[in-house]
Amino acid sequence: MKNVDILIIGGGPAGLAAGLSAKRNGVENVLILERDKCLGGILNQCIHNGFGLHTFKEELTGPEYADRYVTMVNTEAVPYMLNTMVCDISVADDGDKIVTAMNKENGMMKIKASAVILAMGCRERPRGALSIPGSRPAGIFSAGTAQYYVNMEGRMPGKKIVILGSGDIGLIMARRLKLEGAEVLCVAEIRPKSGGLKRHIVQCLEDFDIPLYLNTTVTCIHGKSRVEGVTLSQVDENMNHIKGTEKFVECDTLLLSCGLIPENELTTAAGASMDPKTGGPVVDSTLQCSIPGLFACGNVLHVHELVDHVSAEAERAGAFAANYVKGR
């Protein structure tokens, strides 16, 4: 069994900052596990700018922001393993964490760690699609999936697009798709106010005359093989749809952007107490979960507005975890 002092799960912005900080705080034997083929996490597909004003005092794109940290991790020789999936976390009698992980080279691995930092990030709330009646043809994507196709593969998810939900990824994708040649017909938001940053409303919608319909949702998806249109309806203050306000919009794609939730499978599997408000674990002032030696930072803890805040929090988590290890 491999032994480490601090194991960090996730090599995105949180995991990288936590790993660096743990090492800078005097713990040499750290290890970052990343399930993807490269470090940087979701930042790699966030090619828009607006990152880093707090951390680096300049405006960077997602991949550039990630690269700053990856460079530091490489320079300061923080060890990491790519293509490695963590399957389970358990707590041994002596309080050490036993992390089960796997990859192609090593098969199944058991890693014993004095402290573990959870930094798995978040995922898109899938709920948007569930309550929409109608058919389930091709052409329904979460905004993040569409972002992957467009930014990582240069492929279009569709050409005539309706976006449901005005979360930031949805707004950003409205602009990206428009710039890459699609018609973006509208963004529908069921609430009376957009959940996205004002900056994105201005620069992603208003700049391109893409209408934002508030108090509006999709009440039916049409099309057998491919989306052929959606029905938009207005909703009242209880979010019940108002009969008679239905409007058919012809489109070939529906993007769902209904917000983000912490990726909490491993957190719950480890047995940490969860906070129903944030969807992440309950932590104390040292970012420690209900299980001693288990720390959490970044979007796995709660969804942050800015990556700069994620990095700052992760830096603290790395330092707290280092203190914990040194104090044992």
């Binding site: 090619i47 700018n49 991949p63 550039e64 930014n151 990582m152 240069g154 890459e180 004002k198 700049d207």
Partner: protein
């Protein structure tokens, strides 16, 4: 001196999440007075956004010889808002040879803006 119509423009500042409600008064001499801001950044934002709105454009270009390989790019600085689509047009059909490094110039002086388009990711 450029003469312009005196007017008020209402804006929400987007320089930080605070979102101050700005009023930009455009004077006849094409200068602007900003009120409602709580910091100097807000004043600068209001003035620029009304008199000379600019944007950073981000997109991607294909890696030559691959089917799905792309590398992300951006305008190295802000370009006039009105030039966004011209910039996108210039990126059409461009493909670059790997390897690409962050900061590599992809297009010089895009759409005659004086601004270069540069890579924002590494591609090996």
């Amino acid at each position: 001196m450029v003469k312009t119509v005196e007017r008020d423009v209402e804006l929400t500042c987007i320089r930080c999440p605070k979102g101050c409600a700005l009023t930009v008064h455009v004077n006849p001499d094409n200068t602007a007075t900003v009120t409602g801001n709580s910091c100097p950044k807000g004043e600068e934002y209001g003035r620029t956004e009304v008199l000379n709105p600019v944007r950073t454009v981000t997109s991607s270009v294909r890696i030559a010889g691959t089917k799905n390989g792309v590398v992300s790019v951006k305008t190295k600085g802000d370009i006039p808002k009105g030039k966004i689509f011209e910039c996108m047009d210039a990126l059409k059909g461009i493909s670059v040879e790997a390897p690409v490094k962050i900061g590599d110039v992809i297009i010089e002086n895009v759409a005659d803006t004086g601004i270069d388009v540069v890579a924002t990711a590494n591609f090996e």
